[in-house]
Symmetry: C3
Subunit: 311 residues, 3 copies
């Protein structure tokens, strides 16, 4: 006879087997370490923040000059409550790791959240520049609205500008969770540590990687598949990778980087340089220079029976 | 003492700071421009359209010959209501931009939505060919059902075939929102303007970019990371990019393009041509020709102490 | 006068047109083939499985030593019920295709689901190694928790290790649906057939493709955009691709593969080898060797008027 449901005994055995693996200091056990930040709630906070940054753009709220303060006030209250809770969870996690007492986690969370909210007008100004850069840089762009509503770069850059503010204030966990939410939605992987100037445009975007210590100036445009990465890692005497340290490129103002270019290491791409598609750059490039690969050799081979089977 | 919640005064100040940035003609203000299309509702319409295109494939509805007309009738009614609403929002937005009166937005929305519904039988026929092309082209494909339920190319191509019908009817905003929904789900970025023939297969798909003025014939197969892009943009006297104009490749019938190939500009890849992986093509390719990169030089360097530490 | 809703007559005509296309043996008709696996419910089962594999990591459940058995017992019961249902749907679909009677689908579903649950302790052990590999391999990684909560490779590898168990037990449809869920979230496309050893790390990940018959040893690290793919397909006398057959690479222990490398065909990358970025490999590589492309030629062209317009 087939068992119709998991019998008590079998369930108990399975539970025992699994619970046994939860003991010990295994590095992936979160037992007794509850109340980590919740990815789903961070996503919700990001959605609310985007509603403040681009009021009305989701089409779900009718925002007018007469009701705008109520709408924004309501949004900010929700963001504040939600983000304080998540940031506090992140700080408390850090306290548990460092085995210190609760280091004013609640107070610090309120402080840092207020600071982020205070940065929103500046972030809006930056995003305005990013939207204009997309409009100016993409012949297929029909309107600012199209860009704000549908372009993945706006999600990626918008989330980055928020996450970066928390990163510089050394909030644990949350910035990276935010940036990986944007990565999942867009295929654009920007580490929250990257410093990015005004009027930044990423076209298409899938496969773009921008590493932790990258510095990007103003008016920079990059295309899909571009990597701004590290070349090699410093290791300690025991062969372990050393964390931190500037290891990603610096991209000066007015640089354009075409599709699938890979720029590795702590090199500088000088002001106004143009990096051709599919190039592999491991050295600095002076300002005002175009770098490209030579036209690649291509081998043409005529098929023996081209359309033989197709009259 | 720590404030327990956002005080009225502090909230008011933050709201003021942000609301101030909403004034003026900043390009990212949607104040008083309510009722834009709603991305979430467009996603719902797409889900319903897929239920009509592949009845029963989601496993959530038991469709049989006896109930099929009721199921389809119900789905079409929902799609009609939902899409008319979204298309109307898009037309009304356009009227606001062009500062014209409401140009029969409601009537046009009904007309265009009906036309799309009328195209569904033809789109189904096309998608049938696309599913067959995936089955024939992928040794790992086990069944048509596996392809319909799980392959990302079916989402990308299915959404494209819908979005393209709205694009050619010049519906603003909606086609691009649809295609970016598919891009987000699949990593495949097909501009709704691209013209795509029968039996189209994209394997794996992540990183594929197909630009606005691309034309693709029948029986074309492309692999992950392929770009069909523009090479350079025409600019007006003030240096601004000129919108529109054919600037992407034409791919004729029976062409195969292997992984990571990049084809740029208004070039023609002739009937039956095979484009090797990782090639960079900026000129037209005659029919019946295989183009490949020469076997690249590779440098082999033996490690000094290969497995020294590992007995 | 404009019609305010879809009239009965017009709706009927549309329904007729579409329903007509549902008849016949078209390959994309699921009429009378109800009860396919439901992607949404498979996603839910995966979420529950991740809650077992990393208890507490979502932050939504407070798991402690005192309640852990209740939490895990509850989760396993839900997983068991949900997965038996989905696997049964997949087996029943297979019976319909093969036109055999119901081949003990229910019994087989219970058996295979129990076997998967029995593998969970081992899968947890493997994932522990994968998290450690990510921590050791990425200078930007701050903690195990950051990796578990936010790194896309954990989703991709975790889902793979589950889907692979169902694949080797020849469950139809479900493994591929699972792997495409992970692909959609991460841009990492691992076929459930791939065999993957211990301590596997994928950095960034977008664009990675790992084919069906790939074999990967222990301590392997790969970067974004890497393809482990097939080079050409065997065809039968009628020119149709032959399904199955080893056609993807074997990667031995301790190999590192840098970004955008492409390794094609049934070749072997020997133990400890290092494959440089952007290489294109179609032959086996001996153990203990670094393979790289020569530093590519780059053409530098100075702009005529570099920053002329920018005082």
């Amino acid at each position: 006879m087939i068992e119709k449901k998991l019998t008590d005994k079998r369930l108990e055995r399975l539970v025992d087997q699994i619970a046994r693996t939860y003991r010990g200091d295994s590095g992936i056990n979160f037992i007794d370490a509850a109340n980590l930040p919740v990815r789903g709630q961070i996503l919700e906070v990001l959605d609310l923040l985007f509603e403040v940054l681009f009021p009305g753009h989701t089409g779900t709220k009718a925002v007018s000059q007469s009701n705008v303060k109520y709408v924004v006030g309501d949004l900010l209250s929700q963001i504040y409550a939600g983000l304080v809770d998540q940031v506090k969870r992140a700080y408390q996690y850090q306290c548990r790791i460092r085995k210190c007492a609760d280091c004013n986690c609640e107070k610090m969370s309120r402080k840092v959240t207020l600071e982020l909210l205070g940065e929103l007008p500046r972030i809006r100004e930056l995003l305005k520049g990013d939207v204009c850069a997309a409009y100016d840089g993409d012949p297929a762009a029909r309107s600012y609205e199209e860009i704000v509503i549908s372009y993945p770069c706006i999600i990626a850059i918008g989330v980055h500008r928020i996450a970066h503010e928390l990163h510089v204030r050394q909030v644990p966990l949350i910035p990276r969770i935010m940036s990986e939410c944007a990565h999942a939605k867009t295929g654009i992987d920007i580490h929250p540590g990257a410093v990015i100037g005004k009027n930044f445009f990423i076209d298409h975007g899938t496969g773009v990687v921008i590493g932790e210590t990258t510095i990007i100036g103003d008016n920079v445009k990059i295309y899909q598949g571009t990597t701004l990465g590290a070349m090699s890692f410093r290791r300690d005497q025991r062969g372990r990778i050393i964390k931190g340290g500037k290891r990603h490129p610096t991209i000066e103002d007015d640089v354009t980087i075409y599709a699938e270019a890979t720029i590795l290491g702590d090199v500088t791409i000088g002001k106004g340089a143009i990096i051709g598609g599919n190039t592999w750059i491991k050295e600095s490039v002076p300002p005002g220079v175009t770098v490209s690969s030579p036209n690649p050799d291509l081998i043409y081979r005529k098929h023996k029976k081209v359309t033989a089977g197709r009259p």
